[in-house]
């Protein structure tokens, strides 16, 4: 059973078709990199999959459950680091984790144990009692990731997880994601840093102007192109940006 499966998923905003009948198939236990240029529909797709947006048409199955019919059941099994991080400014980091723990029905001992480990991992122990409003962008990103991991989800949605994260934390998070996938869990991540996606992901989907233009394992994507092509080159080919030149900006020379 795929972890995520969509059939002709569509979302429009007035006349704008943000997601145009895409058929996603994310295998369980995979680290799926979802790529696309700015405004391609990546965030709208994640919002539909996580229940923040209702699709205009099409069907979805997340871990075998229809998120429109039973959104709470899906949310019990998934963790999300959304684009805007979605945190209460006036709760402390520790309180935010406690809030999520309680919402998921975890007992105090479990919440304490998991919070401590996550705060250590994210190097946030010293700031655990400070309000999130006083956190830096990187710290907010880390606490948002901790929030997503605390209930031990089966599926993680990560929207640009490495943006604003320092090299040490980035390395720790990569290791964490690898071990998460090794345990049979699934990750669906978007990133603009194609090198990271290439290194981490085993499956990739590319969305362009709302349409899913390619999907599959990295090997299968490479097999359809010239040998030795990097993911960046494949991506640029798929979105039609390879070889295109922008304005010359000759005035920069002056």
């Amino acid at each position: 059973m795929p972890a995520i499966e969509t059939l002709r998923l569509k979302r429009t905003f007035g006349d704008l078709v943000a997601v145009d009948e895409i058929n996603l198939a994310v295998p369980t236990g995979s680290l799926y990199g979802f790529l696309g240029p700015n405004g391609a529909g990546k965030s709208t797709t994640i919002k539909c999959l996580t229940g923040l947006l209702r699709p205009t048409a099409g069907t979805m199955k997340i871990l075998g459950i229809d998120p429109v019919a039973d959104p709470v059941a899906v949310k019990r099994r998934v963790g999300v680091v959304p684009e805007d991080l979605a945190l209460f400014d006036r709760l402390t980091g520790a309180e935010t984790l406690a809030f999520i723990g309680q919402v998921h029905g975890l007992d105090r001992k479990t919440i304490r144990h998991r919070s401590d480990e996550l705060l250590d991992l994210m190097d946030l122990r010293m700031a655990a009692g400070a309000l999130v409003a006083d956190y830096s962008h990187g710290m907010r990103k880390k606490i948002s990731l901790a929030v997503a991991l605390l209930p031990a989800p089966h599926l993680l949605f990560l929207d640009e997880p490495f943006e604003g994260i320092d090299a040490i934390a980035s390395r720790q998070i990569k290791d964490l994601l690898h071990s998460f996938v090794k345990r049979g869990r699934t990750i669906f991540l978007t990133s603009h840093i194609l090198e990271i996606v290439e290194r981490l992901s085993d499956h990739v989907g590319v969305i362009h102007k709302g349409k899913l233009v390619a999907q599959g394992s990295l090997e299968s994507l490479r097999s359809g192109t010239e040998a030795g092509k990097t993911l960046e080159e494949i991506f640029l080919d798929l979105v039609g940006a390879a070889g295109t030149e922008g304005p010359a900006l000759e005035w920069l020379a002056g």
Partner: protein, 593 residues
């Protein structure tokens, strides 16, 4: 230099206009709601233009009148002084009050621009002329000089023009100084919030002080007695012509410490008080003593230069370190998160989060302190002047009325957390939507959070009333919480419905409009409170007036609370279905998109 000012003016204009533009993703209900919200600023702008024109016309006619006759001088000086006192106070307080309402502007972008700091400062200072009160002053003072010039008095008119420029220069400098200093203080969130709290409670308490002091009858009587004694000793005399007291010598115009032309004795410090320096320029120009007016004019100009000098230094310091974070205090890595009795884990977490969020804001702290303070003041007034506080023949003890009024007031302070209960969470609402929290749990959690907040605030008011005005039947005192419960049973579901229909981007950390719900929501919330409290009051009064039975009063009020509880059930279900339908819009509005 002109291009810098043109760019800065264009930036401010576009920011103001774009703040009225809605985002594309909103639905019809949200667009209508936004349209209503922007009506206020548009109407204010439409009224502002005629006000400026009217002020200019007043200035013109004033200048003409002063130049042609000295009859109006005394009146003109009183009007000018009064107006300038307001200008002076507003110029100092406005930046402070603005800062309590929102975060200081992000100066980093300005710092990155290839614009010298002195021009940035000038832009900031000149933007003060866009404040309505300074724009009115500019229009009035400049037209005053123009009106004078129209009579042919070129020299006094030029003098007045210079004085107008100097007073405007001083006030813009003072505004920039106050604004820069305020930003310097408020850029630390924690420090800013502490100052806001102290300032707002001081202002609120200060507002109640005159009423409280007016009740000190013995002191006033004593003063009157002393006066009467003095008059008796001095014999009967007409009030207007006191004898035995030497008359002060006739004053020379423009000399402080002596009698001014309007008949008021001015203290010596007025010689250096900038608004008074402007008034003296006008008085001396009117007395055809233009030469003498040069001294106050020079002093006023010196004030303007000095304030701009200090303000520009502080502004430069602000630019050098535009951002500062509050220190991140360490603390427990595990937060205690108790379960609210009777609620599931998800609803309980929502309720606890709501209570914590509200108590951590300035608004929440003020709402906790202010209602009991008002009850105490009202109680004190009643103790000192019982006849004035309550109509005669009312069968309810004052303490009970006070307690119920306090409870109703406590509900009114809930408006932010009840009438915009979803959007007030801002980004946190997305977290709640992503978490396994059903619509029902979210509504129940929010209602429970509101109930906890209301109970704490109402209890403080109730205790304050009980301490200051005890007495009356205990059954009537018991009817007060029953009436409060009736109000809550109507307000909680209606608040959820209103919050789902009329969300507004709001920061509960701010004071003023930015921290308030939609105006229509506030109005509807007030109607809910009246709908809950009205029948309770009517039933209790009926039982006491016609049957004189406190027990029946309690029974009837409790019965009304039960009816309200029954009414709340379908209303809560309606709120759930509305929340389910409007989730996307709520998330967008909560994040300010």
């Amino acid at each position: 230099m002109i291009r810098y000012f043109r760019a800065l003016a264009s930036l401010r204009w576009h920011l103001a206009v774009n703040s009225l533009r809605p985002s594309r993703k909103r639905d019809a209900m949200e667009r209508a709601s936004r349209a209503f919200q922007v009506l206020g600023p548009i109407l204010a702008f439409l009224l502002f233009v005629p006000a400026i024109l009217l002020m200019g016309a007043l200035g013109l006619s004033g200048g003409w009148s002063l130049a042609t006759s000295e009859r109006f001088l005394a009146t003109a000086l009183v009007v000018l002084r009064t107006f300038l006192v307001f200008e002076f106070v507003l110029t100092i307080l406005a930046p402070l009050l603005r800062a309590t309402q929102g975060a200081p502007p992000n100066l980093t972008r300005f710092l990155l621009l290839p614009v010298p700091a002195r021009f940035l400062y000038l832009g900031e200072a000149l933007s003060g002329l866009g404040d309505p009160w300074l724009a009115l002053l500019a229009s009035g003072t400049l037209c005053l000089a123009l009106g004078w010039m129209m009579t042919g008095g070129v020299v006094p008119a030029l003098l007045l023009l210079a004085a107008a420029a100097a007073i405007l220069g001083f006030l813009t400098g003072l505004g920039a100084l106050s604004s820069s200093f305020t930003h310097l203080v408020f850029r630390d969130r924690r420090r800013g919030e502490a100052i806001s709290l102290v300032l707002l409670i001081t202002i609120a308490a200060g507002g109640m002080l005159p009423g409280l002091l007016s009740t000190f009858e013995p002191l006033r009587t004593r003063t009157r007695d002393v006066k009467a004694g003095v008059e008796k000793r001095e014999g009967q005399r007409p009030e207007s012509a006191p004898q035995g007291v030497p008359k002060p010598p006739a004053p020379a115009p423009g000399r402080p410490g002596r009698m001014e032309r309007d008949g008021r004795a001015l203290p010596a410090w007025a010689a250096a008080y900038p608004p008074e320096l402007y008034v003296r320029c006008v008085a001396l120009a009117s007395g055809r003593r233009g030469g003498s007016a040069l001294l106050p004019l020079a002093l006023l100009a010196a004030w303007a230069v000095a304030t701009h000098g200090i303000a520009s230094r502080i502004y430069r310091r602000l630019l050098e370190t535009p951002e500062i974070q509050s220190s991140r205090r360490g603390g427990r890595s595990f937060a205690l998160w108790g379960r609210v009795p009777g609620l599931g884990p998800a609803a309980s977490a929502v309720a606890t989060a709501q209570v914590k969020l509200i108590f951590r804001t300035v608004q929440g702290k003020i709402a906790l302190c202010l209602p009991p303070l008002v009850v105490l003041v009202m109680g004190t007034l009643w103790i000192r002047r019982p006849g004035e506080m309550m109509p005669a023949g009312l069968p309810v003890p004052f303490g009970v009325i006070l307690a119920f009024a306090g409870v109703a007031f406590a509900f009114m302070t809930l408006e932010a957390s009840t009438l915009n209960q979803f959007a007030m969470d801002r980004s946190g609402l997305t977290l709640e939507f992503l978490a396994p929290v059903s619509d029902r749990d979210l509504i129940r959690g929010k209602a429970a959070g509101g109930a906890i907040l209301a109970a704490i605030r109402a209890l403080l008011c109730y205790l304050a009333a009980l301490i200051i005005a005890p007495g009356g039947s205990p059954l009537l005192w018991l009817a007060v919480p029953a009436g409060g419960a009736a109000v809550f049973f109507l307000l909680a579901p209606c608040g959820a419905i209103i919050s789902a229909l009329l969300p507004k981007t709001m920061d509960v950390g701010r004071i003023g409009m930015a921290g308030k719900p939609h105006p229509v929501a506030s109005f509807l919330g007030m109607l809910c409170i009246v709908a809950g409290a009205g029948p309770a009051v009517a039933l209790a009064l009926g039982a006491l007036m016609f049957l004189e039975s406190p027990a029946l009063a309690l029974l009837l009020v409790a019965g009304w609370a039960a009816v309200a509880a029954a009414l709340s059930l379908p209303l809560f279900r309606l709120a759930e279905s509305l929340l389910a339908r409007r989730r996307e819009n709520l998330a967008l509005v909560a994040q300010g998109r």
